[in-house]
């Protein structure tokens, strides 16, 4: 498969009033052509900052201190802001979380959707508006011709997110970065938006990086999944690898703390104790160690490297070291392992 985007050893720091926050501490991943990669993590894990770094859209106090972002082998971090402008909204575009605030309140939506066309292509205003209308229809805005001249506040939340998506896809981007696009929406609207994204991916063949904290959403949309914790990836692999053969105790914890529809009230939920670490002073060893029921002495001293689980499945936990003791994951994870076997997977290292 074609790697169209590769992020290598990314480090991002934020200069804040209280000191330097090491928000991203060495992240590697890649995106294949045509696939959907989901990055999951809790708030503050750095998933949003990671994808903003790709387009260099960080807040003013943020700096990428190390790393490479290779787009077709070409390091984007070496490009000037002007050169990046040519890429933004054209080859790589973004969908933001809150549809209520991400549209310009004083510009008609027709103009807002046509804007990326006018920036990147040599088209007339008339043609751009015509194209904008088509795209609005494509994303499911009813009666787009009449509504082109309306302002954002005249649309509902779900419709606004459709408009934001229209803006993002109007130039048929190669890569679409969706930063929690459904978090602010009701569950029925969320389902519609996810269906829309899947449908658009089929139609225009874009690759998607999808950021979310909702594992349910991930299960429905992703081809591959990367789990993030405290500024680093802890596990990545295909969606089946991560959901049915998870290896990192944090992934276990996440999956185990969510009730499924067949969890009954007598099954107690397993919560992950404690809270994520403060990245002003990131811990020396594994950042998850203090909350980890399976923590070992080594976890407090050294960050675990990625251990290979299967061909495309890696997890950064010392538990995968050949010398580590064999531990039994929570019951619900064992159930998932069972399912993995029936799906033809091979459970290793457990």
């Amino acid at each position: 498969m074609d790697k169209i985007l590769e992020v290598k050893n990314l480090h991002v720091d934020f200069d804040t009033y209280n000191g330097v926050v090491h928000a991203i501490r060495g992240v590697d991943f890649h995106l294949n052509a045509g696939e959907t990669l989901a990055i999951v993590g809790e708030s503050g894990s750095g998933k949003s900052i990671t994808v903003r770094s790709i387009l260099q859209l960080l807040a003013k106090n943020g700096t990428i201190s190390q790393g490479e972002v290779l787009y077709h082998g070409d390091d984007l971090l070496q490009r000037s802001d002007k050169e990046m402008d040519k890429l933004r909204g054209n080859k790589i575009s973004m969908i933001f979380q809150d549809p209520m605030t991400s549209l310009d309140p004083t510009m008609t939506i027709g103009k807002q959707v046509a804007e990326p066309l006018l920036i990147h292509n040599n088209v007339s205003k008339k043609d751009a508006l015509k194209r904008a209308e088509e795209v609005l229809r494509l994303v499911g805005i009813p009666n787009p011709k009449a509504r082109m001249n309306d302002y954002p506040h005249q649309f509902s939340g779900g419709q606004r997110q459709r408009i934001v998506i229209a803006i993002a896809i109007v130039n048929y981007p190669e890569i679409l970065i969706a930063d929690e696009p459904t978090t602010a929406l009701d569950v029925t609207v969320q389902a519609q938006i996810i269906d829309l994204l899947k449908e658009l991916q089929q139609k225009i063949g874009t690759s998607i990086i999808f950021i979310t904290h909702d594992l349910g959403v991930v299960a429905g949309i992703a081809d591959r999944v990367a789990v993030m914790y405290a500024g680093r990836l802890v596990e990545y692999g295909s969606v089946n690898d991560v959901f049915y053969n998870p290896q990192h105790p944090y992934t276990w914890g996440l999956l185990d703390s969510m009730p499924t529809l067949d969890t009954s009230e007598s099954d107690r939920l397993n919560s992950i104790p404690g809270t994520p670490p403060n990245l002003l002073n990131p811990p020396k060893g594994d950042a998850f160690a203090p909350r980890n029921a399976y923590a070992m002495a080594i976890d407090e001293e050294e960050q675990p490297p990625f251990f290979k689980v299967s061909k495309h499945h890696y997890a950064a936990t010392w538990l995968l070291h050949p010398d580590a003791p064999k531990v039994t994951p929570p019951a619900s994870i064992l159930k998932r392992y069972e399912k993995f076997k029936t799906l033809g997977g091979n459970v290793e290292n457990v």
Binding site: L57, G89, D98
Partner: protein
């Protein structure tokens, strides 16, 4: 919208009526009459003069007459200035006042918007510090101090502008500068806050992610959105310009309304004070009204109602 404007105009008249009433009764509370210290008038003469001005009737009758006059656009008659009607006084003097007032507003607003926008774009750099310092100076140095300094250095010492003359545009430069400092400072600070807010908003991030250059993000999205709230401070700005114009006109000997007002105060010319008070209030309320309507027109969220359609 039409209903709203109508309602506002109704309020305008109500407010004016209240102001007129308060002004009238306050004037009546004053001890003595403006003629009492003019010894040369005999009791007989005084009576005639009083009758002439209608001062011999009961306060209530005077009040009704006064309000009736107002409704016909009659602001009363000056005691001191050749018995001229106040409206005539205003007519003679309105042009210079309006000229420097308008010039100061334009210079202050445009200058303030630019200063504030630059400060916001270059936030937390020396440019921002400098712009903030300029706007604080504008806010802090009273217009009368500034006027004296400008007059002394630019006109008297260096002879770039006329000292105190009122004939051509040249002579309006210094008063305009002195008057525009306060609006400039006010607008610049307000603009900076608004723009900083707007620049950190989600839709600016989206505009940037579309591939807009930084310049275009500012001109196409940030500027317009930060300008809308700036409209709301035009009203209070008009007040400060008006206040300032009184002293500035005095210092530069400009034959304007402000100068007249100060003169009337020092000579106890009550009808003129009363008339000018109402005139000023009228002007300001009109400005407030225009600003409100303008705000509704340029902000689509207000113009088109706030409810989201499902």
């Amino acid at each position: 919208m039409a209903k709203y404007i109508l309602k506002r105009i109704l309020y305008l008249f109500l407010t004016l009526f209240i102001i007129a009433t308060i002004t009238f009764f306050m004037m009546k509370m004053l001890p003595g009459t403006p003629f009492s210290n003019e010894n040369r008038m005999s009791a007989e003469q005084l009576k005639i003069v009083k009758a002439q001005y209608g001062l011999d009737q009961s306060v209530f009758v005077q009040y009704v007459r006064y309000i009736g006059g107002l409704l016909q656009g009659n602001l009363g008659t000056s005691f001191q200035f050749n018995n001229e009607p106040v409206t005539a006084l205003i007519g003679q003097r309105i042009v210079p006042s309006m000229q420097i007032g308008a010039q100061a507003m334009v210079v202050g607003t445009i200058g303030g918007i630019l200063l504030g926008a630059i400060a916001a774009i270059r936030k937390n750099t020396w440019v921002d510090t400098l712009a903030t310092f300029i706007s604080i100076l504008g806010l802090s140095i009273p217009s009368f101090v500034l006027a004296v300094l400008l007059q002394f250095y630019l006109a008297y010492k260096w002879k770039i502008y006329p000292v105190a003359l009122w004939d051509n545009f040249q002579s309006s430069v210094l008063p305009t500068l002195a008057l525009s400092a306060l609006p400039l400072g006010t607008v610049a600070r307000f603009m900076r806050t608004e723009m900083v807010d707007v620049l950190s908003s989600d839709y600016i991030e989206l505009a940037k992610s579309k591939g807009n250059s930084n310049w275009k993000v500012v001109t196409k999205h940030a500027l317009r959105n930060s300008l809308i709230p700036v409209v709301t401070i035009i009203g209070p700005m008009a007040v400060s310009v008006m206040t300032g114009s009184m002293v500035v006109e005095n210092i530069f000997s400009i034959p304007g309304i402000g100068e007249q007002f100060v003169k009337s105060i020092t000579t106890n010319d009550y009808p003129t004070i009363m008339g000018l008070t109402i005139f000023y209030s009228f002007l300001l309320i009109i400005v407030y009204l225009i600003v409100d309507i303008l705000y509704g027109l340029i902000d689509p969220r207000i113009r088109l109602g706030n409810g989201g359609k499902e």
